[in-house]
């Protein structure tokens, strides 16, 4: 719980921290466009390389970015595997014929159970998971002693594999960029930046201040709610709930015992917040002054120029390639 980084600001000092939040948001948007314009795996690889250069320059350790990526690991693997399995374009690279017979299915289940059991004792759950999957696949494809009752052929096509890597890279880049933004920007600054960036939308009667306020409050409350969840876990643990153990039936009760107080506390918090805002005479949509004024520095201009260039280059590459 403690290591979830989504939306969490981590104090530090580098050019990424000194940038104007408006510029950060615009630059992020420009880079998103650039990343979506790219349609070549090679260029996408270069973009990833760029990110890897940016991280040490901005004094952000890979570990923090990894903590940002970790909650999405499952999604990333899922997309990757599905692309490989179901994309049948391009040259056929190889096939893997899986035959199922009672013996090898039983052995595979055994391997899976062993992994489930062993993962408690090792810290490399993810790596051992990959080893486990590889083991099961080898077993199913190589060993068929008894009468088989079915088979399935995994066919991997060149296009599918490349596209899967391509999608993976794109997702990693996008999530990393967003993580960099939230790590280096205080929620209040982010909120202010967002409000200013969205200001032109006021012409078409969009209430940008309220949107910025809603987003700002949500970001602000993520760590608070995580802390609350931790406290609830401790309070329930002292009533005998063991969140690490238990059968599925127990798990349901455990999760309910966490979620119900969570909901109640969130509603209480929002009620209190609304009262506090009203007590300070908050009126939605009224023009207001800010304690911190944003200042545009030469650094900001430079960053905008660089990101715009990157976008133009990626568009150019797409048209001319």
């Amino acid at each position: 719980m403690k290591n979830i980084v989504i939306g969490r600001y981590i104090p530090g000092d580098s050019f990424l921290y000194r940038m104007d939040p408006r510029v950060k948001l615009i630059a992020l948007f420009i880079l998103f466009v650039a990343v979506f314009v790219i349609d070549e795996l090679l260029v996408m690889g270069l973009a990833l390389l760029g990110i890897l250069v940016l991280l040490p320059l901005g004094k952000i350790s890979l570990k923090k970015v990894y903590f940002g990526l970790r909650p999405l690991l499952f999604l990333l693997i899922f997309t990757f595997v599905f692309q490989i399995l179901f994309n049948t374009q391009g040259r056929l690279l190889g096939t893997l014929r899986l035959t199922f017979d009672p013996l090898n299915v039983a052995l595979s289940v055994g391997i899976f159970a062993a992994w489930l059991f062993l993962k408690r004792f090792t810290s490399f759950t993810f790596i051992s998971f990959l080893v486990m999957v590889a083991g099961v696949l080898t077993l199913l494809s190589q060993l068929t002693l008894l009468a088989s009752f079915g088979s399935f052929t995994i066919a991997i096509y060149e296009e599918g594999l490349l596209f899967a890597i391509f999608i993976l890279l794109r997702l990693v880049i996008i999530v990393t960029l967003s993580t960099i933004l939230t790590i280096t920007t205080k929620p209040t600054d982010l909120n202010l930046g967002l409000e200013r960036v969205l200001k032109p939308l006021k012409i078409i009667r969009v209430n940008t201040e309220e949107i910025a306020m809603i987003i700002g409050i949500s970001l602000r409350y993520i760590p608070t709610l995580l802390d609350e969840a931790n406290k609830i876990i401790l309070a329930q643990a002292s009533r005998g709930v063991d969140f690490q153990e238990g059968k599925i039936k127990d798990k349901v009760v455990q999760i309910i015992s966490l979620l119900v107080p969570m909901f109640i506390i969130s509603f209480q918090r929002s009620d209190e917040l609304a009262n506090a805002m009203e007590a300070r005479c908050f009126v939605p949509g009224k023009p207001r002054t800010r304690l911190n004024q944003l200042t545009w520095k030469p650094l900001d201009t430079a960053v905008l120029v660089v990101t715009l260039t990157l976008m133009i280059v990626s568009i150019g590459v797409r048209i001319l390639w």
Binding site: F67, R120, A235, S238, R239, G240, D242, P261, I264, Q268
Partner: protein
Amino acid sequence: MAIRLHTVSHTYTAINQPAVHALKDVTLTIDATDEFIALVGETGSGKSTLVQHFNALMAPTSGTAELFDVTITAESFKDKSIKKTPIRKRIGLVFQFPEYQLFEESVLKDVAFAPKNFGQSQADAEEKAKHALSLVGLDDTYYARSPFHLSGGEKKRVSIAGILAMEPDILVLDEPTSGLDPQSQKMLMDVFESIQRTTHISIVFITHDMNWVEAYAKRVLVMQSGELVFDGAPDALFNHPELSVWKMDLPDRKKVLNYLQSQFKLQTPMDDFTQLLNAINGEGDQ
């Protein structure tokens, strides 16, 4: 000895933030029977962190915590073969805010939740829950009510009953009287005292109110910025020269006594009002 902490330190660490030393070399023992301990100290002095070490919700960063026959250290805490739940059954911890634990649809079910977790049958658990609720002064009209529609004080009582129903050997209470009206505070403290007197279990409570310390506690622990600075009888604490250094206050009774003594310029220190009145009257007679 039920709880034996030996040079326990706890440091909170977070990514890129300065470490907070919440506990520094705390050594103390608490018996399984007949203790009535008040834990006092200013806000942020480490009281709550300390009590979470009592039932293995937290592990010391360094040092050892012997809880009944289980030894908890930074390493053994991570070892999943050492079960912490049995410790938590024997050492019941009530958190300060009942909102963090109430979740069932009725008061009775919520109180029966803990005994059921510790393997009691539905009927037994409800029996224990009813008993616990009667102890904290909630009668059968409360059984079917939703815990979320109760007043703050009633919620607090339900949350305390939720731990009492486990029948712990040691009861640890994090600010049991906070947020209650004076009468309910007194009523709850009386409940704890009578539980202590009849069942002889040990009770540890955190409080900021010296009147409760004077009226109920047999022993006081004083925390200051993570260190245990005093461990002894309440009277010894009230006469301790460093009382104000620890940001502690005297109980109201002591303040009145001291005031009257200074007003009547009595030299010998006195500890109860009869003695004082006699001294004053005697002076008047002369």
